[in-house]
């Protein structure tokens, strides 16, 4: 990174070239007050708090540090009397229209207006507006509470909504001192990410579920990892009196969990935490006595399980027992279950539960691991090829990174999809294809001669596929983001792209990139009324250096041309796969087969954390299958339909109550920390499994410490060597290197033949969905995470048709 020398208040510092002065000063330890400036948002420069004097005769006035890039030899003063006066009067103006109702404001204690006033303001306000803004406080969405009187009109929230989420759901209404944050009909229809609330510097926007729940100084904030989608965002889990009350990406004091998500969190991570304290939580072990499940002690439950599993094993052999885990369980849990299955039960039937809508990991990693992309790779990619899936709904952080790359880094987004996605707005080429025909794209990319046939199968024009191929060919770095739609041979064939679509000439690639940027610029400047709005909303990014998402970020580029980001469905699908909880690796029965084989090949099942009945297409049939088992152990957080079928139920901890590790879709391991003590008598999954193993005569040597479980992982699982919980706590996300793919081992002809056979099977009568995005965000969320959203008191109340079904908020006074 190129550094330049700047002088601030007589002291010389080094700063990255092109960095904004406000950030450079902060790096040098000089904090400049600000409301509107926010890392990762475009410049606003409306609060005028960060004014500084730049020693340059050409710049006679005070300058806003948030819009001024540093240049070599810049001399800056930040603390003169003149500047102090200006800042104090700016704050005074803001306060003249502020209710100062801090005692009843949820933000008090982590309010930036309080902090800036304390640090840079005067202790008295001399004026009050005669006609003070009198918009009344009101709820504007199921999750957002708005008190316009407290607003300082920094517009962080509206910018977040536009730039990060591409929602445009909230906006500024009126102007001047009458400006307030609102929307067209006073009601906000959005995907409920809640980022606007997090970035709000005052108490204007507040989380509805957190309203009047706790004061910030009473909160214990634990940095941990979200347990929902596979992106693996970090979040601060706030608890009060051992109860989880909120989760934020960044609190009002600017503290973040420091993960892979720069201050970003979506609805799932933020608003489903109340499920942790749901009344359906199982709080003690239960054992079946006839028709009823009766509470029992841990010792009784565990020894009964050990006895019964031992009996089944002795009678029918180890392979008659199946172990099924939920993909959301942590690495330690998965590893211990696998160890338990292999070493104690001696069964090869251990699998994490997944449907057709999970990535076909077995095929993807069949010949070793292709280069895996992380969020940083997306953010600095030249071209992003998105095949299948809708990250906007299912992996919101990935969608955020894609949007960032396109908007701020002029990346080119190519989409080949069978469903509508809001990301199409950012796409240069968005091709809608027949459901299930996405595999054909890989064939067309690998073999140009197959383009026409592939286009026919996909129900699109050959020109579209040719255009996609051409852009991929001439790009320097390509990130392929794909969903579960790519399966089998198509995944095996992915590593072939590297040689087939290698850029013929790096200079040509650079020229193509420049041509694209110039074209974008021309489009923005053009006066042709027929021109469509520029996709790239910052066409000048090749002229003006763009600040990175986080200070001091270097672009992350893969060594290979192609890198891949599989969008797994659950938080730890990849971890489960790496821990060996995958039956295909041991030639065992997969989870679905085990369930279907209930009572026949499988006599006993050990299900950890998965509601197989609730997720089945025919719950009744699944119940019947489970009832044929000799013995069913379910360890789960909730009294699910599956748990009701069990002979023994063991209560387990949620992600907030246990420590462990989780591996995200970018193959990064992160530490999940314990935020609250276990609810009731719940115990972590790994501990339960290890206890049963011990009773069955095999001590795993964990001695009740999760660190020892991870030590065992580090010793046996490839890629995890040298990792410890302490290291993860200090370093954050650490990349797990898996043995990389050996393309020479790949039988190209065989793969292509199978790929062609798969394409031939595509139903060519399926209709290509060319419709608009119709589903509301919340509804798809429920389909995706039925268990979690069912147990959340908040999300299911999401209104589907307007204000009438407003979530009930406990208001104070009631």
């Amino acid at each position: 990174m190129e550094l330049v020398k700047i002088t601030i208040n007589g002291q010389e510092f080094e700063a990255p070239k092109g960095e904004l002065l406000i950030e450079a000063a902060e790096m040098a330890g000089i904090y400049l007050p600000r409301f509107c400036h926010y890392r990762g948002l475009t410049a606003q420069a409306s609060c005028r708090l960060c004014v500084v004097r730049v020693d340059n005769p050409k710049i006679p006035k005070l300058q806003t540090a948030c819009t001024m890039p540093v240049s070599d030899g810049m001399i800056v003063t930040t603390d003169s009397e003149e500047i102090e006066t200006v800042r104090a009067s700016m704050i005074e103006f803001l306060l003249s229209n502020h209710p100062v109702d801090c005692p009843v404001c949820d933000r008090a204690g982590e309010c930036e207006l309080q902090d800036q006033t304390y640090g840079f303001g005067e202790d008295a306000i001399r004026s009050q507006y005669k006609d003070k803004e009198t918009q009344l406080e009101r709820q504007i969405s199921p999750f957002i509470y708005n008190d316009p009187q407290r607003c300082v009109v920094c517009k962080r929230c509206t910018r977040v909504c536009e730039e990060w989420m591409d929602e445009f759901a909230i906006t500024t209404i009126n102007r001047g001192s009458h400006t307030y944050i609102g929307s067209y009909n006073g009601w906000v229809e959005c995907s409920d990410c809640g980022n606007c609330v997090d970035v709000c510097p005052t108490g204007t926007l507040l989380h509805v579920p957190y309203k009047y729940v706790a004061r910030p100084w009473d909160l214990k904030q634990t940095p941990t990892i979200c347990n929902f989608c596979s992106d693996g965002c970090s979040m601060l889990a706030g608890s009060r009196s051992e109860k989880l009350v909120r989760s934020v990406a960044r609190d009002g004091r600017g503290r973040t969990a420091g993960g892979i998500n720069p201050d970003f969190l979506c609805a799932l991570g933020r608003y489903t935490i109340d499920a942790v304290h749901h009344e359906d939580r199982i709080d003690r072990p239960m054992i079946r006595r006839g028709e009823h499940l009766v509470p029992t002690t841990w010792d009784d439950a565990l020894s009964y399980i050990a006895k019964r599993l031992g009996e089944v094993k002795a009678q029918h052999g180890g392979n008659s027992i199946g172990v099924i885990s939920a993909a959301r369980l942590l690495n330690e849990d998965q590893f211990t279950l696998k160890k338990f299955a292999a070493e104690v039960l001696e069964t090869k039937n251990a699998d994490f539960y997944h449907d057709e809508d999970e990535i076909d990991l077995a095929s993807f990693f069949k010949n070793g691991s292709p280069t895996i992309a992380t969020q940083k790779h997306i953010q600095s990619a030249d071209t992003i090829l998105l095949i299948g899936s809708d990250p906007n709904e299912e992996n919101p952080l990935t969608a955020f990174s894609v949007r960032w790359a396109v908007r701020r880094k002029s990346a080119r987004l190519l989409m080949v999809n069978s469903v509508a996605s809001r990301l199409e707005r950012q796409a240069e080429i968005a091709v809608r294809v027949r459901p299930g025909s996405e595999n054909a794209l890989i064939a067309a990319l690998l073999d140009e001669n197959l383009t026409n046939e592939a286009a026919d199968v996909m129900g699109t024009l050959a020109e579209n596929l040719k255009a996609v191929r051409q852009i991929v060919l001439e790009s320097e770095k390509v990130v392929v983001v794909f969903g579960d739609e790519l399966r089998g041979a198509a995944l095996e064939a992915l590593p072939l792209l590297e040689s087939v679509l290698a850029t013929p000439d790096p200079e040509a690639a650079a020229a193509a990139r420049k041509a694209y940027l110039d074209a974008q610029q021309r489009l923005a400047q053009s006066t042709q009324s027929t021109a469509k709005p520029a996709i790239n909303e910052n066409p000048y990014s090749n002229i003006t250096p763009q600040p990175t998402l986080e200070v001091g970020d270097e672009p992350v580029r893969s060594a290979t041309k192609f890198s891949y980001l599989p969008l797994m469905r659950y938080s730890n699908s990849l971890g489960a796969f790496q821990m060996g909880m995958d039956a295909l690796q041991t030639d065992g029965m997969i989870a679905q087969a085990m369930l279907v084989g209930g009572g026949q090949a499988i006599k006993a099942l050990y299900i950890a954390g998965e509601d197989v009945v609730g997720k089945a297409e025919e719950p009744k049939g699944m119940k019947h299958l489970l009832s044929r088992l000799d013995f069913l152990v379910v360890q789960d957080m909730f009294m699910t339909q599956t748990a009701r079928q069990a002979h023994v139920i063991l209560p387990t901890t949620s992600f907030a109550e246990s420590q462990g590790t989780q591996t995200n879709n970018g193959s990064q391991v992160q530490l999940v920390r314990r935020a609250i003590p276990p609810v009731g008598q719940a115990r972590p999954d790994w501990m339960i499994t290890a206890s049963i193993a011990k009773m069955m005569g095999k001590d795993f040597g964990y001695q009740g410490a999760v660190k020892n479980a991870f030590k065992a992982i580090a010793e046996t699982v490839p890629g995890y060597g040298g990792l410890t919980h302490n290291r993860l706590a200090n370093e954050g996300a650490i990349l797990v290197e898996m043995p990389s793919v050996d393309v020479s081992q790949l039988n190209r002809k065989d793969v292509m033949d199978r790929l062609n056979a798969e394409i031939a099977r595509v139903n060519r009568h399926a209709i290509v969905n060319l419709g608009e995005l119709r589903d509301k965000a919340g509804s798809r969320l429920h389909k995706r995470y039925p268990l979690i959203t069912r147990y959340s008191n908040i999300l299911p109340l999401h209104p589907t048709n307007g204000k009438e079904e407003l979530a009930k908020v406990v208001m104070f006074p009631a």
Binding site: F168, T171, Y184, S529
Partner: protein, 154 residues
């Protein structure tokens, strides 16, 4: 949504700009002339027509004081209240109209004839105080002249 002539006018305005959305200001004027104020339907229709979000249209409508989202009287009596007019005594004019019509600022007479508004600088400082009635300016206004104007319009 609008009369055929006005629809044609909107098309005409759209053709003036590189992107459709730029035509939002004249389009809103047309909506206001046609319906007396910018209705909810207008906002939704123009958002669709100009490839915008309803929130963006709402933002524009509420930003400019010459658009109204509430029903207005047939004649808008707009008294300038910025500094020159203020010194020249615009307060008296506002008060006078208010007393005469029995309405406060930003209110409309029951018969839907007049709406009284205070607005910022109309650019006639040399002839202050100034009263704008719809698109006509009345300079160096006095309470007596105000009476005349209102009587004429009644």
């Amino acid at each position: 949504m609008f009369s055929p002539e006005n629809e044609k006018k909107i098309d005409e305005y759209i053709s003036h700009y590189p992107v459709k959305r730029s035509a939002i200001l004249p389009a809103l004027h047309i909506a206001q002339i046609e319906h007396g104020y910018v209705t909810d339907e207008d906002v939704q229709y123009l958002a669709r027509r100009l490839d915008m979000r309803v929130n963006e249209v709402e933002e524009v409508v509420t930003f400019y004081s010459m658009y109204s989202r509430k029903p207005m009287g047939e004649y808008k009596l707009q008294v300038c209240r910025t500094i020159s007019c203020h010194i020249a005594g615009c307060d008296k004019i506002t008060e006078h109209i208010s007393d005469k019509l029995g309405i406060k600022v930003n209110e409309t007479t029951p018969d839907g004839k007049f709406t009284l508004q205070e607005v910022e600088c109309l650019g006639y400082c040399d002839l202050a105080p100034v009263l704008q009635v719809n698109f006509d300016y009345h300079e160096q206004i006095t309470p007596e002249r105000t009476d005349e104007i209102i009587e004429k319009l009644k």
